[in-house]
């Protein structure tokens, strides 16, 4: 119950803070438009998968941008204002607070989905055939889960690094092309495909693409892989937070390496 209260408090605060940040508004409102416009003009409009990428892919890609940005700024802001340490000393714990913030940011980031849908269907006049809405929504939730697990792990990395923002962009772009958001993973060189197969988003993305192209049955296995990987990531992140905690006690600093 207490956790739920904290979570709701975080969600409320986060919504306020996020929208006072212009870069956040940019990631949520402009980036999706940028991606769908770019894809619209580059991709062949006749093919069905193009329109899925223009609509769905752009939305997912912007959500990833929002996620990266929010994780980085959360950590950097606490570090700059010197609250990173005081937050980590509260009884509820740094880990839980960061986790709540990430969920909150992901939920708020869903706005970019709305933006993409409206923009692509009204302005670009593209339609997305969804064969099974119920399944789509379910798979979509699994995608969100994979997002949350990845940004949770990302947050630990950013906490440990000295400059979260530099690292943020270093992580952001590879994930764009490794996870098949805007084009299929198949076109990557083989050895790069191996790397991308450990990324949960990649599998969730594959199942979603299958649903919109009318192959709901073959979408189950990738989703299972996504869930398993996401759980692994969460465990890894949890373990990393332990290490951070110990490091903090030992060295009395979270200032980075």
């Amino acid at each position: 119950m207490r956790y739920l209260r904290v979570f709701l408090a975080v969600l409320k605060m986060q919504t306020k803070i996020s929208f006072s940040r212009n870069l956040f508004k940019f990631s949520v409102l402009i980036m999706p438009i940028f991606f769908s416009t770019l894809l619209y003009f580059v991709y062949d409009k006749a093919s069905n998968s193009s329109s899925s990428y223009i609509m769905l892919g752009s939305a997912v890609a912007s959500l990833w941008g929002v996620t990266c940005y929010s994780s980085a700024i959360e950590i950097e802001r606490e570090r700059i204002s010197g609250t990173l340490e005081s937050v980590s000393m509260t009884p509820i714990g740094f880990e839980f607070i960061i986790f709540s913030k990430i969920i909150a940011n992901t939920v708020i980031g869903l706005i970019s989905f709305g933006v993409t849908l409206v923009y692509s269907s009204l302005i670009l006049q593209i339609s997305l055939p969804v064969y099974s809405y119920r399944q789509f929504v379910l798979w979509f939730l699994i995608l969100l889960f994979s997002f949350i697990s990845m940004s949770f792990l990302l947050a630990t990395l950013l906490t440990l690094s000295g400059n979260a923002f530099a690292w943020m962009s270093t992580v952001q772009y590879p994930i764009y092309f490794l996870s098949g958001m805007l084009f299929p993973v198949k076109i990557l060189p083989k050895w790069v495909q191996y790397i991308s197969s450990v990324i949960p988003i990649r599998w969730s993305m594959e199942s979603l693409m299958k649903i919109v192209s009318g192959m709901p049955n073959s979408s189950i296995i990738p989703n299972l892989i996504s869930i398993i990987l996401s759980l692994l990531y969460l465990a890894l992140a949890h373990y990393s937070f332990r290490i951070i905690e110990i490091k903090r006690r030992k060295e009395g600093t979270l200032g980075g390496f």
């Binding site: 940019f26 580059v42 062949d44 270093t170 084009f183």
Partner: protein, 262 residues
Amino acid sequence: MRRIAAFLRNSWLAFKGVSLWLNPQAYLTEKIVNPMFRLLFYAFLLAYGYKTMENATVYIFANAMLLSTISAFNGVGIIYFSERHQGTLIYTIMTPKSKFVVIFQKVLFHILDALITVTIGMLLAVVIFNFKFAGNIYAALLLISILGTVSVSAFGIFVSSFGLLTRDINMLLSIAESVVFLFSGANFPIKRLPFGLGFVSQILPLSHTVLAIRSVVRGNIWSGLKLSYMEIVVGLVYFVLSFFFIRFLEHQARVQGNSDLY
């Protein structure tokens, strides 16, 4: 002679005072690693969009150049923001020196810095994608990219000057960057843009550079250089505009009184 040395020295200090990338690790990340990932991303996207690597080649190469020239844009774009952040903006306003010189000194080294990035970008593109051109084509491409860098930096000053009024320059820079990127024609032919939006791309920087690059890559060096000449005109217009604009915004800053908020 001493005058020139002092001028250069000062331009260097102006750069050093606001540049974010003086630590070598951050510089490498910002100048090589991140552009490389971005380039890879766009290259794959284009390769998928244009079906074959042959179709995509010109676009990929233009993108490589574009990404690196845009780093000049971001470098310049952050100037007034950084001055505001450090509280030195008030002295930029208070100086009795000619604004023209002040602005020029501020951007000079950003442009030089960007030239390094452009060279690196070109090398990366050549190495990763195995482009093979004749020597004079490389030379022409480098020259065109340099001119493009100068022009986009002038545009950068223009956008940056909004930093005199607002502390939210980052958003503005990102939007401007996306717009330049979309309208440059580096990813798809400008002809595909509907309702005369092609005109917008004419008055934005880099669109002529992209055309020039494309024509040089196809072997038409001279027509490429001619197109580049238009790019310089665009850049010049932005530089002159920025000059008047900055004077106007400085006045505006005195009216609003927010030059030392951060």
